[in-house]
């Protein structure tokens, strides 16, 4: 559990920092600058807030994610988990707070540059291109590396061809990695749900991102499918060194997979630490695990 202890150390550092800065608040910028200047921090959020109409989906959320960790974000329905990922990927614009990705600081992340910033994501509700084959869906994940123009494509000029070849090769690797060979040429819309989720993971992985955002990648799956998916997520980190933010409702999966866990409730971060620490946190038990006592609750202990 090297990852976990690393995570714990980082958590201590982070709470130290926020303890110091709590006094100097609300200087989000400076806090962010200090955090994001550390080379081992891929992503740092500070003071993130967003509301929709009257609903405060997130308020004053801080989060940092270190290179190579699997960072889980959990919380009850409507806690603001997806909103957090949407803000990181530039689809929602935070009302306040700043986001630093790999040392670059933003108040609004430009979604159209996300891939080039080294961030890829999946969606809570499938967001595949139903009219394309599995292979072409995955190939689209590398579209940000393409330079050839449509004229070069129509005429089949060398640059277009070599790009196609390069991307086809990468796609094949991912197809093999996620065991999608047997369905690779099927229209993605004709696949069962669990496989579609996997194709979405493939489309994100093929981009070779530094940071991967997974919004409930295992939702609605059977236990076997979940275990399989968890294996893929872990392998993605172990083999490709991807840093991962994982939103997941299944506490068992989260505890087994992640290095550190942040807990959101009503848009506030109520706990952050190793799975062990979070599990023991009374606030968390009250707000979250307490409501899910039973199967999941037993899993934890």
């Amino acid at each position: 559990m090297i990852g976990a202890s690393l995570g714990a150390a980082a958590y201590e550092r982070a709470s130290e920092i926020s303890a110091i800065l709590a006094v100097a608040n609300p200087v989000d910028d400076r806090r962010l600058a200090r955090l994001s200047s550390r080379p081992d921090v891929v992503l740092a959020l500070s003071g993130i807030g967003i509301s929709f109409g009257g609903v405060k989906a997130l308020s004053d959320v801080d989060l940092e994610v270190e290179v190579g960790e699997i960072r889980a974000v959990i919380g009850p329905n409507g806690a603001g988990k997806s909103s957090l990922i949407n803000i990181i990927s530039g689809l929602y614009h935070a009302d306040r707070g700043r986001i630093a990705i790999d040392g670059q600081s933003f108040s609004q992340v430009p979604a159209s540059r996300l891939a080039r910033l080294g961030v890829a994501r999946t969606f809570q509700n499938l967001a595949l291109f139903g009219g394309l084959s599995v292979r072409n869906n995955i190939a689209c994940g590398r579209v940000h590396t393409r330079r050839a123009s449509f004229v070069e494509h129509i005429a089949g000029l060398p640059r277009a061809r070599s790009e196609d070849a390069g991307i086809a090769e990468k796609t094949d690797q991912i197809v093999a990695f996620l065991h999608l060979e047997s369905v690779a040429d099927r229209l993605v819309a004709t696949l069962p749900y669990g496989l579609q989720k996997r194709v979405e993971l493939a489309r994100a992985l093929v981009a070779e991102p530094k940071l991967l955002l997974l919004d409930e990648p295992m939702a609605g799956m059977t236990a076997t499918e979940k275990a399989e998916m968890a294996g893929f997520v872990r392998a993605a980190r172990d083999r490709h060194g991807v840093t991962i933010i994982l939103i997941e409702h299944d506490i068992g999966v989260v505890m087994g997979l992640s290095d550190r866990v942040a807990v959101l409730d009503y848009g506030r971060k109520i706990a952050d630490g190793t799975p062990a620490e979070v599990r023991a946190d009374p606030a968390v038990i009250r707000a979250y695990i307490g409501t899910a006592e039973g199967e999941n609750g037993e899993d934890i202990r």
Binding site: F52, S82, N86, L91, Y92, F123, Q124, N125, A127
Partner: protein, 298 residues
């Protein structure tokens, strides 16, 4: 600007506002259907034509005014329910674009049927409204326009009241808000849709009578759908208020543009001016003047 020029501007403006109310009338038919089923009903114009043509043909065959009105209304109700059954229900859960294209097909059917049944000649429609303009403070106002505006206003008030204070109106709003939730609490969507198409048919009937009396009942009546589209877009697709204010703005600015801009470009700009205006507004406010700004959920 002299006093008389000023009066002239006011006169143009008032004329424009009054015809704007007539645009709103058609636009409201849209809003009703759009709010409850998310369908942009391109066939609204052909429904107007169908209603007017049916009514005028009945009257011409010697059937009394009130009875003709009743029969036409019954026909529109039947039409509404038929559409719900045969077109909407099989297409439920399909993309808005598909639904829109289906209503395009629908408009072809209704237009074709209306003229196949009742013929293609132009009918005059006399509602017995006196159309001599009268003068108020130096400007001329068409009494027909004024009455038409009054009827439209009454209808809008009635519809709003219906929406806000009756049980079924509440159900409408629930459906408009969230179809799945409405379904979950046991609202019967098909019946609501059927009712709403009936209401839209009624609006079409009123619009058909007023527009028909003004322009004559003929094929071009179905083209007022093209006037209502920019009105809707300008107001934002959802709120009834948007349709009204949108209609007023388009009516007024169209008339003003016709008088003051038209001569410079050779006239005839009313064909596209409303669209250009709607586009300009859209580019500044993508959800229209009164549409709520929403963030797409992902």
């Amino acid at each position: 600007m002299s006093y008389y020029d000023f009066l002239f501007v006011i006169e143009v403006l008032v004329g424009g506002l009054l015809s704007g109310v007539m645009y709103s009338l058609v636009a409201i038919g849209f809003v009703l259907i759009y709010k409850t089923s998310g369908v942009l009903n391109f066939a609204q114009g052909s429904m107007v034509l169908f209603a007017a043509l049916t009514f005028v043909s009945l009257v011409e065959r010697g059937i009394p005014f009130a009875l003709s009105l009743l029969i036409t209304f019954a026909v529109m109700v039947a039409l509404g329910f038929t559409i719900e059954r045969t077109v909407l229900r099989p297409l439920v859960n399909r993309s808005p674009m598909t639904l829109f294209m289906a209503t395009l097909g629908l408009s072809y059917i209704i237009e074709g049927a209306a003229q196949l049944i009742w013929g293609t000649q132009v009918h005059g429609l006399d509602l017995g409204i006196d159309d001599t303009p009268f003068e108020v403070g130096g400007i001329l106002i068409s009494s027909f326009d004024l009455l038409a505006a009054a009827i439209a206003a009454a209808m809008v008030a009635g519809l709003s009241a219906f929406f806000y204070w009756t049980r079924i109106g509440l159900a409408f709003r629930a459906v408009a808000d969230d179809q799945f939730a409405a379904l979950a609490v046991g609202l019967r969507l098909p019946r609501i849709w059927g009712t709403v198409w009936t209401a839209a048919g009624f609006v079409a009937l009123v619009a058909g009578l007023l527009w028909g009396a003004r322009l004559g009942v003929q094929f071009s009546l179905s083209l007022i759908v093209l006037k209502a589209l920019p009105v809707l877009v300008l107001g934002g697709f959802d709120p009834i208020l948007g349709a009204i204010v949108g209609g007023l703005i388009i009516g007024a600015s169209e008339k003003l543009a016709e008088v003051y801009l038209g001569p410079f470009v050779g006239g005839g700009i009313e064909g596209w001016f409303a669209y250009a205006l709607a586009l300009v507004v859209l580019l500044v406010r993508p959800s229209g003047l009164f549409g709520q700004k929403t963030v797409e959920r992902v």
